[in-house]
């Protein structure tokens, strides 16, 4: 087991507005972790710091022992919370691009998942529905054999049957050397595949426990506890 993410006193502020406040966090390999928090709590800021899209205001972040950069991007597969593909390209052209770009890309697996979800490789991305575009993005990310998968709202726009498929894909892809960090609001759909749960609020980590610890201690599902902790 190795440490894939390490944050030490990590702080990020935007013009004085503190998005992440002095966070300490350690994530080991072989885990599926839920990053849960209300809107504007700092989830996406943390994810962008992990991916090197933002730099810390103070403190440190290490991905598999190095600061985010070229080396970390080779082992991190990132699904952003918005569509990141060129809409004029066909699905197959995008798969070609990914095959060229990422040494760990599993092309066969990618086509298998596309066909399973009924997405033809020859269609242009712009002709796909919003949900189907999201499926393509997620399939591309999960087709990499990465050490760390960072999924920002992976199932928000897809139907419940596809959610089940996505979740079984995550389970099937489980690798003791890799970890998956999932940010989502659809807690009840994902909580039973999670090892650990991180609750984040106003830039602070307010809880970091296993799902079974939460259920044992509170007698509630993670979803129910979330609703209680973050009640307005």
């Amino acid at each position: 087991m190795s440490e894939l993410i390490r944050c030490e006193h990590l702080t990020k502020s935007y013009n004085g507005l503190i998005a992440l406040n002095n966070i300490d966090l350690s994530v080991e390999s072989g885990k599926i972790i839920g990053l849960l928090g209300p809107n504007g709590s700092g989830k996406t800021t943390l994810i962008k710091l992990i991916n090197g899209l933002l730099t810390p205001t103070s403190g440190e972040i290490f991905i598999n022992g190095t600061r985010p950069g070229v080396e970390s991007k080779k082992i991190v597969a990132y699904l952003p919370d918005n569509n990141f593909l060129n809409s004029w390209m066909t699905v197959e052209q995008i798969v070609d691009l990914y095959t060229d770009f990422y040494a760990d890309f599993r092309r066969e697996l990618c086509f298998e998942m596309l066909s399973r979800l009924g997405i033809s490789p020859s269609v242009k991305l712009k002709t796909l529905s919003k949900g189907n575009k999201e499926k393509v993005c997620l399939i591309l990310v999960m087709s990499r054999k990465a050490r760390l998968y960072v999924l920002d709202e992976p199932i928000a726009g897809v139907d419940p049957a596809t959610r089940d498929y996505v979740i079984s894909t995550i389970i099937n892809n489980y690798d003791p050397e890799a970890s998956v960090l999932i940010s989502t609001h659809l807690i009840s759909d994902v909580e039973q595949v999670l090892d650990d749960v991180i609750f984040i609020n106003n830039g602070n980590i307010v809880l970091h426990k296993t799902v079974d610890e939460i259920r044992q201690e509170s007698g509630k599902s993670v979803d129910a506890l979330f609703r209680e902790v973050f009640r307005w």
């Binding site: 979740i167 389970i171 039973q192 799902v211 259920r215 509630k220």
Partner: protein, 119 residues
């Protein structure tokens, strides 16, 4: 295999209970190979680490055993599984009587009610 998992309770004991019931019922032959951890995880829609923990707990209780490099097997002796199911039956019965008590039925009244009950 069909799994029914309650969201308010830890998952590990639920997997253990349902496995104990199957073993005690005789769903498996002694020394029969079990499904792999991954198969159970996918089937139940849960984390493979959770299944691993549940299997290790069942091993600790003497119901199943692992063979390095091969997988998990049902033990030849079903005593531990039967004992676990018995505990479960007592627990459920206790829950039932407590629920009846909350409705204002004491033990005798509840037993009387059970006598009149038709499935």
């Amino acid at each position: 295999m069909d799994w029914k998992l309650d969201k308010d309770r830890p998952i590990v004991p639920q997997i253990c209970e349902q496995m104990s019931v199957r073993i005690a019922k005789g769903d498996f032959a002694p020394d029969e190979k079990l499904m792999s951890v991954r198969e159970v995880a996918v089937g139940a829609g849960i984390n493979p680490n959770t299944v691993q923990k549940a299997f290790e707990e069942l091993e600790r209780q003497g119901m199943i055993y692992s063979v390095r490099g091969s997988g998990w097997y049902v033990g030849a002796d079903f005593t531990a599984a039967k004992r676990a199911v018995e505990d479960l039956i007592f627990f459920k019965t206790d829950q039932y009587f407590k629920a009846m008590e909350a409705l204002g039925y004491d033990l005798e009244a509840t037993k009387n009610y059970i006598g009149r009950w038709k499935a």
